[in-house]
Amino acid sequence: MTGSTAAPHLTRRPTTGRSRRPGPGLPTWVYVPAVLGIVVVVLPVVGMAARVGWADLPALLSSPAALDALRLSLLTSSASTLACIVLGVPLALVLARTRFPGQGLLRALVLLPLVLPPVVGGLALLATFGRTGLLGAHLEALGVRIAFSTVAVVLAQTFVALPFLVVGLEGALRTAGRDHEAVAATLGASPTHVLARVTLPLTLPGLVSGAVLAFARSLGEFGATLTFAGSLQGRTRTLPLEIYLAREADPDAALALALLLVVVALVVVGAVHGRSRS
């Protein structure tokens, strides 16, 4: 299962906190706000599902616009998740395994996209990678145009999703501790070897978890994409943007697409989370 319980005899830390054995029961009153909490999340989805015209669903979901949006959403969310892994894993390692002045500030900066409204993120990306932006003006001179392209969608999604992966993995790295790494190092393993054979396998569940969250966030990305990438079928109009547009002329189609988005998100999060925990 998880790395920390795979070799419990090696760790000095108590494992009771994560034991699967039934501990002392929860106070009964805890269940009341807990149930209310789940109602807050689930009820609007139920309300939406109740509005969906199920008979028209196949036709609404198989329109070229809907299929293009779904394909583009899956493609860009996968690409941005990959980008989050490539950039986020080293970032989490640096945050969790090293100490340097200004580390707290760096951590706060990594989390910035979580607190920024996505529209602001889009404006920031526009000011940087847009045609007249900080880097965009130079890229434009080289003949590279990011605005209004699928790359812009991936960039916007990566921007908003990266903190999810970094926070998830950094927590896992801290929880896993450094004992196994120290042992491997005393046995003569190189830092790269330790990283590849000890650290990353130990924290794999945390990485998977963070990647799933990053994917889910990318899938739902709306504001930054609309501001930065524009909206064009097959190129930049992802599922959330298609829902936003469908609302204008055909609210039933918007609801059907929204349901599709929920199902895709549930399937991805459920499948990967379920597998990593069983």
């Binding site: 998880t2 830390r13 906190g17 994560r18 999340v41 609007p44 500030l105 951590r107 706060a108 990594v110 989390l111 979580l114 996505p118 526009l126 847009g130 045609r131 007249t132 605005a147 209004f148 999810f164 926070v167 998830g168 950094e170 927590g171 801290r174 929880t175 501790g177 945390g206 978890s209 799933v212 969250l213 889910a216 966030r217 899938l219 739902g220 990305e221 709306f222 504001g223 990438a229 524009g230 909206s231 064009l232 079928q233 109009r237 959330p240 829902i243 936003y244 547009l245 469908a246 609302r247 204008e248 002329a249 055909d250 609210p251 988005l261 929920v262 998100a265 549930l266 999060v269 989370h273």
Partner: protein, 287 residues
């Protein structure tokens, strides 16, 4: 979230609860759903001063976003001629307005940017009698300096010209399609926006070479854009209809009469002389 929360594992590493990840998964779903809900306008935007209590009548006008400036002027006029009254506005895209009203938002007057939206409101039983009160035509806007040297609608279809238009699902996009049909020019835009304001924003920020917007939007943007007029656009005119809503006056019987009277007075003002002047100043035509 702050940096302190992010470092939650620092002091007590082994106690970092695994269920955090489970709850984070739920949070991600919330984020996904929040993404779907974005763009729904928040609460009504009150304008005017009367608190609504007391004897003064009070109405809320649901109007297309492009009408904001002239309608604020007309609203102020009506408040002056009806002392103690309060005219409030809810400005949004026409389709959004109709959706909000269908979902039970309380409104007294509806003015949309196209006849199709008003027809949807009528078929839902929201309005009874409507009449066109203004027209709007399309124009090309380019960033100051006109970097792509646009002089005609046909220029928008040239290779390498980044053109932004409204999506065909919204009134300005439908009008753009009519101009395409009239001119025989088939555009391949880099983006089809939901809002005419988003088209304008792409031009004022210099992201695109040209955009197709309403004349009123180009006037509103002022110095930030230059205008290239399209002669054919005169034959693809958008008509703006207005009507008193069926549920005008509100549920409270004691206020319904005065409120309905104020709603009718506002519609009359929009269609009358002073309203016409405000609309003309904003660039609207006469139907």
């Amino acid at each position: 979230m702050t940096a302190g929360e992010a470092g939650v594992g620092r002091g007590r590493p082994s106690r970092r609860p695994r269920s955090w990840r489970r709850s984070a998964g739920l949070a991600a779903l919330v984020a996904v759903l929040a993404g779907c809900g974005a763009g729904v306008p928040s609460a009504q935007t009150p304008s005017g001063s009367a608190a609504g209590s007391g004897a003064g009548a009070s109405i809320t006008v649901f109007a297309a976003a492009s009408l904001a400036r002239p309608f604020e002027e007309i609203g102020a006029q009506v408040e002056r001629t009806h002392p103690g009254s309060d005219v409030r506005f809810q400005f949004a895209g026409s389709a959004d307005l109709v959706t909000q009203l269908r979902e039970g938002a309380p409104g007294d007057v509806l003015a949309t940017a196209d006849e199709a939206s008003m027809a949807r409101a009528a078929s839902a039983g929201l309005v009874e009698e409507t009449a066109p009160f203004a027209t709007n035509t399309l124009t090309i806007v380019v960033p100051t300096g006109n970097p792509a040297a646009i002089t005609s609608f046909a220029d928008l279809a040239h290779d390498g010209v980044a053109t932004v238009v409204c999506a065909p699902q919204v009134p300005c996009g439908a009008a753009t399609e009519r101009v395409e049909a009239l001119t025989g020019v088939r555009l391949s835009p880099v983006s089809e926006e939901n809002r005419v304001d988003d088209v304008l924003g792409k031009i004022t920020s210099g992201q695109a070479d040209a955009g197709v917007v309403y004349v009123t939007d180009a006037l509103r943007a002022g110095e930030a854009v230059a205008r290239v007029d399209v002669p054919e656009a005169d034959r693809a005119v958008n008509r703006y209809p207005i009507g008193v809503l069926a549920g005008a006056g509100g549920a409270d019987a004691s206020h319904r009469g005065p409120n309905r009277a104020l709603a009718t007075a506002f519609v009359d003002a929009v269609r009358g002389g002073p309203g016409r002047a405000a609309l003309t100043r904003a660039g609207f035509g006469t139907p």
